[in-house]
């Protein structure tokens, strides 16, 4: 199936100012414009403090921009109430965090199924889907383990599975490989790329690791909150 | 050095404002409640005791030998002893006042009712200065009329006899010679002392009229003594016993053991309640201290790594917990003291329950008592609770090896 190329995600004139004190203003993002097509595999890179995380958080509705708009699949996210945002995150956006952030009391399978259950899918459907995604990520044998029984690479694969399993429109991954050794990091990115291809899910991730950045098909570079390069392969 | 410690401690309390405020509020409210409870319950018991002392027993009462077992006029304090006793009582500086009473059991009757009664011949003027008997008057006047033909009776007795001011009552009793004799009096006053025994049974009449009625020329059945300082009661009693071996000398608590028992029970009750409160509050403080130490293990590890001594950490934690404990205590003590002061001056008015209070023999308006030991005990307990929770927190801190923790991610 060839992905239909439409303007799927529009980031319009996004700026973000942090105000840690009354007198001080720190610009984190400065007038970012970006549009991403459905099914893309995009990396956002740049030195630390360049605004990667802030941008991802704003796209995902976790953070509010000072100015600008986010439009996802024709729907304006900016200005929505927290409850609506939570619904959008649940149904349309998957998150992968740098620190894995699995729910510690749930097993790998339960972590993967958590969002699907929130969506109200049946037990059987959750089971089938979680198993399918886990097999693609090579963690099918670890499904009954608790997070603390898994290695970092394994945990991050569970986290990716959790993000992808509910079939979101968009997966956002903030430095998913930062805590992994280079081998695991490369493997994780390969798997994410495979999911992107096979499931057609749009993935945006951030990284400052050149080996990882090289695997993306489109690379966006931020510096001091400004977009400096945007290269498609 | 000290300032740095306080600064760090204050900053860490500020960082967890909600939590610190909760602990302070908890201590404050629990102490406030506790102080109120202690002050008011003590006020109630002490008022009951005071009523018994004022209306009947004094701090110490003297009776003739055998009178307590057989309350007959034969066992009164004889005339010869009375004179000696009066001289003694007038000269002892520890005494603030004393009164003589001539009592006899008998019968009081109206047209329809009759009840057992204790006829008590008294000198109203002296009783006024002694136990402020006049303050207990609820109806009528404080006097026996010009011809001493009046009677002041307890309000419960009046209720039972269905007699009011001006009503006629007939007293029947045996006189000194065992002859049954009777006299008619008019009710001039009704008193409510909340000394149950007195309110239910006593008819006060003029002591001279009583002497005539009962045929007793000399001697009395009871001498009640009020002391300037109630702490001296036991010593005073011992002295009197030595001086008047032929008389029975009883303290108020020997005459009203139930009241003493109330006080003991109340104190025990307060102790149990305060132990529970401090125990539970201690658990609260412990939880907070433990968590605030545990979540800062890294921070402490860094401080240790850059050369801070463990003693300094201990001082910081101690200052933090003491700050919370003392603030809570001060707030609670202030609120408690203020409300007790209010109830001490204006009284806690529970007149709604007056029927019940009458049944108990208690005043419907309670004036709270404020004792310094409420505050001292609470302070010591809070400090103790704080120190114990600090001790545990420090042990846990040592066990968690803070320096090693900083090397972990």
């Amino acid at each position: 199936m060839t992905p239909v190329m439409t303007e799927f995600l529009q980031i319009r004139q996004i700026s973000k100012l942090y105000q840690p004190d009354k007198e001080v203003e720190v610009p984190a993002l400065d007038n970012i414009n970006l549009s991403i097509e459905k099914g893309e595999f995009v990396v956002i890179s740049g030195p630390s403090g360049s605004g990667k995380t802030t941008l991802l958080n704003i796209i995902g509705g976790l953070d509010l921009p000072t100015e600008g708009q986010i439009i996802l699949d024709g729907k304006l996210l900016t200005g929505l109430a927290e409850r609506e945002l939570a619904g959008i995150r649940r149904d349309h956006i998957g998150f992968v965090f740098q620190a894995y952030n699995l729910l510690p009391v749930l097993t790998a399978r339960e972590n993967i199924e958590y969002v699907m259950k929130l969506q109200g899918r049946s037990r059987e459907k959750c089971r089938a889907r979680s198993l399918m995604v886990a097999e693609k990520l090579g963690i099918a044998s670890l499904l009954d383990k608790l997070p603390h029984q898994l290695s970092g690479g394994q945990q991050q694969r569970v986290a990716v599975a959790r993000a992808v399993a509910p079939t979101p429109k968009l997966v956002l991954a903030d430095e998913p490989t930062a805590n992994l050794d280079s081998k695991s990091a490369a493997a994780l990115i390969d798997m994410m790329e495979k999911l992107n291809r096979e499931e057609g899910v749009t993935i945006i991730f951030s990284s400052h690791d050149p080996l990882v950045i090289a695997k993306a098909r489109r690379s966006v570079v931020l510096k001091d909150g400004k977009l400096v390069t945007d290269i498609c392969e | 050095m000290f300032r740095t410690i306080v600064k760090i401690a204050w900053a860490s309390l500020r960082r967890r404002t909600t939590r610190s405020l909760m602990v302070v509020t908890m201590i404050c409210l629990s102490l406030w409640g506790l102080f109120l409870m202690e002050g008011i319950y003590d006020g109630m018991t002490e008022q009951m005791i005071a009523n018994a002392i004022r209306s009947d027993s004094g701090h110490v009462s003297l009776f003739g030998q055998g009178y307590r077992l057989d309350a007959s006029l034969d066992n009164r304090i004889k005339g010869s002893d009375t004179a000696k006793l009066e001289k003694f009582l007038d000269s002892d500086p520890r005494i603030s006042s004393w009164v003589k009473r001539l009592k006899q059991q008998g019968l009081v009757a109206t047209a329809h009712y009759s009840r057992n009664t204790v006829i008590s011949g008294v000198n109203l003027r002296r009783e006024k200065g002694h136990g402020r008997l006049e303050d207990y008057l609820v109806q009528g006047e404080y006097g026996f009329g010009r011809q001493a033909k009046g009677a002041i009776i307890g309000f419960k007795l009046a209720e039972k006899l269905k007699v009011s001011i001006g009503g006629k009552i007939i007293l029947t009793a045996q006189d000194l010679h065992s002859e049954v004799t009777a006299t008619a009096l008019r009710v001039t006053g009704i008193i409510k002392t909340n000394n149950l025994r007195l309110d239910e049974t006593t008819v006060f009449m003029d002591i001279a009229a009583a002497r005539k009625f009962l045929g007793v020329e000399h001697g009395v059945t009871q001498v009640a003594v009020m002391l300037r300082d109630n702490q001296q009661t036991a010593g005073f009693q011992a002295g009197l016993r030595q001086a008047f071996s032929r008389l029975e000398v009883l303290r108020w608590d020997e005459m009203y053991p139930a009241l003493l028992q109330s006080r003991v029970i109340m104190n025990g009750f307060s102790l149990v309640v305060s132990l529970m409160i401090f125990g539970i509050a201690g658990i609260g403080i412990l939880g907070v201290m433990l968590v605030s130490v545990l979540e800062r293990v890294r921070e402490f590890g860094i401080m240790l790594a850059i050369g801070t001594g463990f003693g300094r950490l201990r001082a910081i934690i101690m200052t933090e917990s003491l700050l919370m404990g003392v603030t809570g205590f001060l707030a609670g003590a202030f609120c408690g003291w203020l409300s007790l002061l209010y109830f001490k001056i204006y009284g806690l008015d529970l007149t709604v329950f007056s029927a019940a209070f009458n049944e108990f023999g208690m005043d419907a308006v309670t004036h709270a008592i404020i004792r310094p030991d409420y505050f001292v005990n609470a302070f010591v307990s809070i400090i103790f609770a704080v120190l114990v929770s600090m001790f545990f927190s420090l042990r846990i801190l040592r066990k968690s090896k803070p320096i090693e923790v900083i090397n972990e991610i």
Partner: protein, 406 residues
């Protein structure tokens, strides 16, 4: 799904759960037992006071309570008895005739109440028989044999078998006097009563006091003691306005009020303890919830709505509260039940009890499932309420703040 997740959290955070459950359990057990104890002692006091002599339901002439003269007697006791005993729910009716007389021995004279009773029926409506201290209780066909209070006997200095004289006024206003022999001495523990009462079999009493078919009042024993008030109403309507029917709550209004007052103080004291428990549970919940703030941030970030987070946390409190309330309730109930069957005996506290009108020094607790259930429900709500603030507070965090909270 939310419930299961909450359950997992409760199980995973063992220490917090144990402390919270422990606090809740102790509080519930304390509340359940304290109220069982208060209710029990109050019921016992009232039961005592009622059963020693006054009885559950009293019938008098309409005016008798206002002016208890011989003009306001029950004049046809047999007819009243026949009517009353016919009413459903009445177990027994017995008449009494009280007269104030002077007792005299040698040169001692003491006034007191001489009452004619039906000894066999009296056994069932009052504790007179059980209060026997010395000698024997009366029988229906006894003659001039007297059952006298120990304090009155002491004042008259008489023992069982001794003789005394009484002087009084008969129901026909005639002069009445007789020689009596002490058959038994009783002690109820109520000082005033023991110091002023003596009893004769009514059959004999009627002969010397001219009181046949007359009574100052009648006592009705209801089959169900808890329905005294209703039964009194029924009796009142049946026998008409010539008579007054009062149940114990009317005849002993002061005592009933004083018990309420005592409960009131009891609950105030408990409330002070519960304020502290409330805060400790709140603090522990706050600590627990904030220790998991990051986790909550993750939940929120991956699409859990604030309402769902609220539900999960509330479920956790409910599970903890539910367990504590049941464990504590059962412990408290077990104690209440045990002390209901084995009343606590306070020896050496008679003085105190007499002041409360309590003759016996054994106090049982009340075992009433309804009250226990009420206390458990109250405690459950209190526990939930104490966790509400921390839960609301944690829910106010934006997901991003929560994620980065340290």
């Amino acid at each position: 799904m939310l419930f299961q997740f909450a359950l997992r959290n409760v199980l995973a955070h063992g220490k917090r759960s144990v402390v919270t459950i422990l606090l809740g359990t102790i509080s519930t057990a304390l509340l359940v037992f304290s109220s069982a104890w208060m209710d029990g002692s109050h019921q016992q006091m009232i039961k005592n006071a009622v059963e020693i002599y006054p009885g559950y339901i009293q019938i008098t002439g309409a005016e008798f309570r206002q002016s208890p003269s011989f003009e306001h007697l029950l004049f046809d006791v047999d007819k009243i008895q026949a009517e009353v005993i016919d009413i459903a729910g009445v177990a027994l009716f017995t008449p009494r005739f009280e007269a104030f007389v002077l007792f005299s021995v040698g040169d001692k004279t003491v006034g007191g109440m001489l009452t004619g009773i039906n000894p066999e029926k009296e056994r069932r409506v009052s504790r007179l028989c059980a209060a026997l201290k010395d000698g024997e209780y009366l029988e229906n066909n006894d003659n001039n044999q007297l059952y006298i209070g120990n304090e009155l006997a002491r004042r008259l200095q008489v023992k069982v078998g001794d003789e005394l004289v009484f002087i009084g006024t008969g129901a026909d206003y005639s002069f009445a006097a007789d020689r009596l022999i002490v058959k038994g001495i009783f002690q109820t523990g109520l000082f005033e009563f023991d110091a002023g009462s003596a009893f004769l079999a009514k059959s004999y009493f009627d002969r010397i006091m001219a009181s046949k078919n007359l009574a100052t009042h009648g006592i009705v024993l209801p089959e169900n003691l808890n329905r005294s008030a209703q039964l009194a109403g029924v009796i009142g309507r049946r026998i008409g306005p010539k008579y007054q029917v009062a149940d114990w709550q009317q005849t002993m209004a002061g005592l009933v009020k004083s018990m309420q007052l005592d409960s009131c103080f009891g609950y105030i004291t408990l409330a002070i303890i519960f304020i502290v428990i409330f805060f400790v549970v709140m603090i522990y919940t706050l600590l627990a919830v904030f220790a998991r703030l990051k986790e909550i941030g993750i939940m929120r970030a991956i699409g859990t709505t604030p309402r769902q987070v609220f539900a999960i946390l509330l479920w956790e409190s409910s599970i903890l509260g539910f367990i504590s309330v049941w464990v504590g309730g059962l412990i408290g109930a077990a104690f209440a039940w045990y002390f209901c069957i084995h009343p606590l005996v306070f020896s050496g506290m008679e003085e105190q009890f007499k002041q409360y009108g309590l003759a016996a020094s054994a106090i049982p607790s009340a075992f009433e499932p309804l009250t226990i259930g009420r206390d458990m429900a109250v405690m459950f709500l209190l526990l939930l309420l104490s966790t509400l603030y921390p839960i609301i507070k944690v829910n106010r965090y934006q997901p991003i703040e929560a994620l980065h909270h340290v």
